[in-house]
């Protein structure tokens, strides 16, 4: 496998896992309006769950890392478990957001939860490997030869994305999507119509969390290692930028935004040659462009490149029909 081929494999795997994560965050924030700045925590929860369920007891490999559990579950089971843990963590985080306080205070609470999780996990060396994290996480295709195994992994991630997309459409389209959007646009009207606001918000957090958990698990099985450095609070910002730029609540827009931001911008720049004596320059430039994009879009076009498509219902009358189709979007929450 050439270097370029491997580069392609890496980008595709990152694209797939980031898509799953972006769809989850879009479900929470774009569709339901839950300001979850702690989304990276559910991704981390999924990653750690997969790790501790497949690494085996922590005394193996000479016991250089310590963590809880330590089983040798098969790949599929560990991924499912990661999804479940992601959902649970998502709901727990969501419960803190139920208190009716100002939205920016809520955002602050989520941000601090994200920081707190990173600090606590990093500080406790016995829980999840502390600051150095966990490594030697098994890849399910490690038995195959290098080239075949990598492309098999890409195929599996693609399969997961197809399944994830279908699941997501189930939630963002149809009656469920309308109920979630109603909660976002006008809580009181939604409650008056009989939609349980609390249930909808927690449901979106659970499903979004499950998406994040699977994303984390798939990512960590490929990379083989995971530590608090990998899930700093800025990672949620990257995903948030992707869905804001792409178009909140628009499935296609979110997907395209994820491709542009997380793959081209953040991953792609890391493969550019480093300018001598200026380490970290390309990564820094990537973040600068990212932050500027977020500010620019929030200032000028908060709906994103592709606006959310809201169906407009009308009685079709051939005489008066001016042509229907997707109506104009209502102003999204951002």
């Amino acid at each position: 496998m050439t270097g370029l081929e491997f580069y392609g494999v890496v980008l595709l795997v990152y694209l797939g896992t980031d898509l799953l994560a972006a769809w989850g965050l879009n479900l929470e924030f774009g569709v339901t309006g839950v300001a979850n700045l702690a989304y990276i925590v559910v991704i981390a929860a999924g990653a750690y769950t997969y790790a501790v369920l497949t690494l085996g007891p922590d005394t193996s490999f000479g016991g250089f890392q310590q963590y809880v559990a330590g089983l040798h579950l098969p790949f599929a089971l560990a991924v499912v478990a990661a999804a479940v843990v992601g959902a649970v963590v998502g709901v727990v985080i969501g419960v803190t957001g139920l208190k009716r306080i100002r939205q920016d205070y809520q955002a602050m609470v989520m941000l601090v939860i994200s920081l707190m999780a990173a600090t606590v996990v990093g500080a406790d060396t016995g829980f999840l490997g502390g600051q150095s994290g966990l490594s030697l996480i098994p890849n399910p295709f490690s038995g195959l030869s290098a080239g075949v195994g990598d492309w098999a992994y890409v195929g599996m991630v693609a399969f997961a994305c197809v399944v994830g997309y279908l699941v997501m459409r189930r939630f963002t389209g149809g009656p469920m999507g309308r109920a979630l959007r109603a909660v976002r646009d006008d809580e009181h009207a939604a409650a008056a119509m009989g939609v349980s606001v609390v249930k909808m918000r927690l449901l979106s957090q659970a499903v979004g969390g499950a998406f994040g958990g699977v994303s984390g698990a798939l990512l960590v099985a490929f990379i083989g290692g995971w530590s608090p450095g990998a899930w700093a609070y800025v990672e949620t910002l990257a995903l948030l930028t992707a869905i804001i730029v792409g178009g909140l609540g628009n499935d296609f827009g979110v997907s395209l935004g994820t491709f542009v931001i997380t793959v081209l911008l953040l991953q792609g720049v890391q493969f550019l040659p480093e300018i001598r004596a200026h380490t970290g320059l390309t990564e820094a430039l990537g973040w600068i462009v990212l932050g500027s994009l977020t500010i620019a879009f929030l200032a000028v076009r908060p709906q994103g490149v592709f606006r959310e498509r809201r169906p407009r219902y009308h009685i079709s009358d051939p005489a008066a029909d001016e042509g229907g189709g997707a109506g104009t979007a209502m102003t999204p929450p951002v």
Binding site: Q106, M108, L111, M116, T119, T279, S292, A299
Partner: protein, 294 residues
Amino acid sequence: MHLLIESIGFGVASGAVLSLGAVGFTLQFGISNLLNVTYGALMSLGAFLGLFLLGHGLNIWLAMVLGGLMIGASSVAFSRGLISPLTRRGLRPFSLVIVSVSAGIVLEYLIVVVAGPATQSYGNLSGATLRFWDFTLTSSQVIILVIAVALMLGLHLLLTRTQLGRAMRATSSNRTLAQSCGIATSRVSDLAWLISGTFCGMAGIALAITTESFDFTLGSLFLIPMIAAAVLGGVGQPYGAMVGGLVVGIATEVSAAYWSPAYESVIAFAILILMLLVRPRGLFGSGSARRLLA
């Protein structure tokens, strides 16, 4: 007992710096009703400016004042260039928080582009170690404490004895009413941002003095404890922020002594989350409903 008193001493020293930053933060919140997360990046910028000035042979305390003023000017530019236009466009508070987080990231990585990601240090500026009763403090910590107290006293006098201070309090409390009274609120805002930005820069340099080494994430690391202090005291209340800074500082140091140093930031996080969820207006908050409404 000795450990408790000693850690309280450390807490007062770190609390002084936290108070300095928290007062600046709460002034900005009072005048703009914005949770300005860029504050952390501005503190980092202050620390690096201080390093630059120090490298050109300036005395550290002069560098602190000068660096502080430069950050004050940057804060005015920030508020005039980014926050005011966006507020006029009608961006909601939540979007403004995202904007301020993004601006903070941009600023921090601009620092990396210019100065590199490596950790820096002011060198050993601690000075002599002073011991009285059971407290152990370095002379630079004592000087910072004195500077912080002096600044807060100055702010108190400004707010209560001068016309500008009255105008600032009025604008912070009810902007429209202040405008109706003929107060030039935009100019008062600029001055408030200048003062709070100066506090921000000085806090950043004070942090760099007291920590052995720092990098571009310095401000972000200490931002949350400062926000915790500001929220604890009641956002928009400078006196509350002063008390809050002390409380957070002492709580952090005592927990580090008795529990574990690795968890000391968790105490500040927990205080912040608890206050935001349980009593957002803080201990001394005026309770004005306007601030708390979604």
